[in-house]
Symmetry: C2
Subunit: 342 residues, 2 copies
Amino acid sequence: MSGRTNRRWVLATRPTGMVGREHFEWTEEPVPEIAEGEFLVRNLWISCDPAQRAWMEIDTYIPKLPLGEVMAAGCAAEVVESKHPGFAKGDIVSGVFGWQDYAVADDRGFGGGLFRPFKIPPGVDIPTALSLFGITGLTAYFGLLDVGEAKEGETVLVSGAAGAVGSIACQIAKVKGCRTVGVAGGARKCEWLTNELGIDGAIDYKEEKVGARLRELCPDGVDVFFDNVGGEILDAALANLAMHARIAICGAVSGYSRYEDRPGIRNHHMLIVRRGTMRGFLVFDFMERAMDAIAELAGWAAEGKIKNQIDVVEGLENAPDALRRLFTGENLGKQLLKVGPE
Amino acid sequence: MSGRTNRRWVLATRPTGMVGREHFEWTEEPVPEIAEGEFLVRNLWISCDPAQRAWMEIDTYIPKLPLGEVMAAGCAAEVVESKHPGFAKGDIVSGVFGWQDYAVADDRGFGGGLFRPFKIPPGVDIPTALSLFGITGLTAYFGLLDVGEAKEGETVLVSGAAGAVGSIACQIAKVKGCRTVGVAGGARKCEWLTNELGIDGAIDYKEEKVGARLRELCPDGVDVFFDNVGGEILDAALANLAMHARIAICGAVSGYSRYEDRPGIRNHHMLIVRRGTMRGFLVFDFMERAMDAIAELAGWAAEGKIKNQIDVVEGLENAPDALRRLFTGENLGKQLLKVGPE
C-alpha cells in the first residue's frame, strides 16, 4: 500500500458546545504498513452516533478520545491486505476504524475490547449491517425488551424517536403490541413517525409542551420509557409514569452539547411514588445474544414490520458535518457517511 | 367517652419551605362517639417521618393531606373502646391515627388501604414497635436487601445515615458483611456512626466535599446506594458508582423543604456508563414478608448487632417541633413524640 495516501480527520480540540468542523484537523499521511496479526481495511461506510460526541469531551465507558489521533467511529470496511488468519482480502468487516480512508486493525479492537472487528456476512446490505443489524438495532432491541421489559398491551414512550435507535425501538414496540408514543423535534419527524412508522402518537418537543401532551396521549401513564435524551423530556416522563414503570436509559443527548451546563432531573422522586426503575445500559453487555436478536430483527424487516430508515451524507471530507446533524436534529433515522470508492 | 376533650393539631396551610408550628392549628373538641365496626384509640407514641412533610404539600403515593383536618402521622395507641370484633379494649395498636389524643379507627385505615391498623403483640416495647420493628426498620431491610440487593463484600453507601431508616440500613449492611459508609450532617452524627454503630466511614456533608470524600472512602466505587436524600448527595454517588451498581431511592428529603426549588440530578447518565439501576420503592409493597423481616431484625438486635436509637420529644403540644427536627437535622435515629398519659 506504500505510496498511497490516507486522508484522516484527527481530533484537534475538545468541544464544550455544539460539535463542528473546528474541532477536527484534516491530515494526509501515507497508508501505514501492517505487521503480523494485523490487517488493513479501506473504509466504505461510517456510522454517526451520538456517543461519539460524549467520547470527544468526557470519560464515559471508555476514556475520552486522545487529542491528535484519528476521530473514532464505527465503520464498515473492506479488507485490502491481511497478515491475520481470521480476515482475508475482500472480506467486509465492521469495526471502529475511525474517520479515515484506511485503518490498521487487529483483534484487540477499540475501547478495551468493547468493540472488536467482525465480518459482515456476504450478501448483507452494508448500510443495514451498520444500522438495523448493527449496534443501532441491537441497542433498540435489548434496551426495549431486556432493560425496559416491554410487554404486550403496555404503553411505551420513546425519546429521540425519529433517530436511529429510537425509530427502531418504536417499531419493535409496535411489533410487540404496545401502545407507542414518540418524542421528536419538528412536525416532519412527528408525521413520519405516525404516518410512515405507524406509531400511536408523536410529540413535537420543539412546539408542544411535552408534559401536557404526555398526559393526553398516555392518560394511564407510561409503562416503559426508552430514553435517548435525558433533561426535560426525562423529567416529563418521570412525572407521568405508570406504576412499576421501567426507564431504559440509552443516552442523554440533550446534555452532550452542553455537558457543563446540562439540565438536571428534578422528578426522580417519582420513582418512589410509582415504584419505578431507571436502568442505564450498553448494548455491549448483551452481545452474546446478538445473533438471535439480528435473526428476529431480520424476520420483522422481511415481513415489512420494521423499516430501516437511513440518512446518507457522502464523502469523508464531510464527516464533521454528518456528525453534527445528530445534534442539530437534521437527520431522520440512521445517519451514515458514505466514503467508499465505489 | 363523652365529656372528654380531644386535643388536635389540624393542617392549616401548606408549607413551601421549612415546616413549623405556623402551618398547624391547635383545636380542642369533644372525643367522638364510635359506630359499629369502629374503635376508639388513645395515642401513646407518635412517629415522626420525613414523608409527612411531602404529604403536606404535594400528591405522592397518597393525595396531599386535606387542609382543616388532623395532621396525619403513624402512631401507637391503646384501644379504649371498641365496637369492632378484631380490636378489644386494652389492645395496643399501630395505625395512622394522627396528631391528636383520641382517634376513631376502622379497618379501612389510611391512604386507600396502604396503612391499616394492626395489633402490636403484648410484650413488645412500643417505641421499638414504631421504629426497628415498624415501617422504619422494614424500610431499611427491604430497601437494602431487596431493592439494593446488597451482598457480602460489597460497598454500601447510605445517605441520611444518622436518621431512623438510615441508621438501621447502615447496621444491616454491616451484618451482611458490606463495607459501609454513611453520609450525615455534622461531626456528632458522623462520630456516632463510626464509633457507636461501627460503620467503616462517615462523610459530614455540611463540612466536607461529598464527592472527594467518596472517592477516598470508596475507591472502587459504590455497589449499593441507599438514598434518603436526593440532590447533590445523589449526584455525588452517581459519579462514584461501581459497575452494575444499584441505587435504592427511599426518600428525597433534600427536596422536601424546597419542593419548587429542589435541586436537579445532573449525573443520571452515569447509570449508562456503570450500567447502574435506580429504583424507587415503598415498604408497603413488601408487607407480606414483614413478619419474617421483623424476626430477623429482632434476632440481630438480640445479638447486639443492631442498636435501635430513638430520639424522644414529649407532649402533643410539641408535635410540630418534633417533626421539624427531621429537617433541621437535630434528631439522631428515630424521632418519636411521646403523648401517652402514663
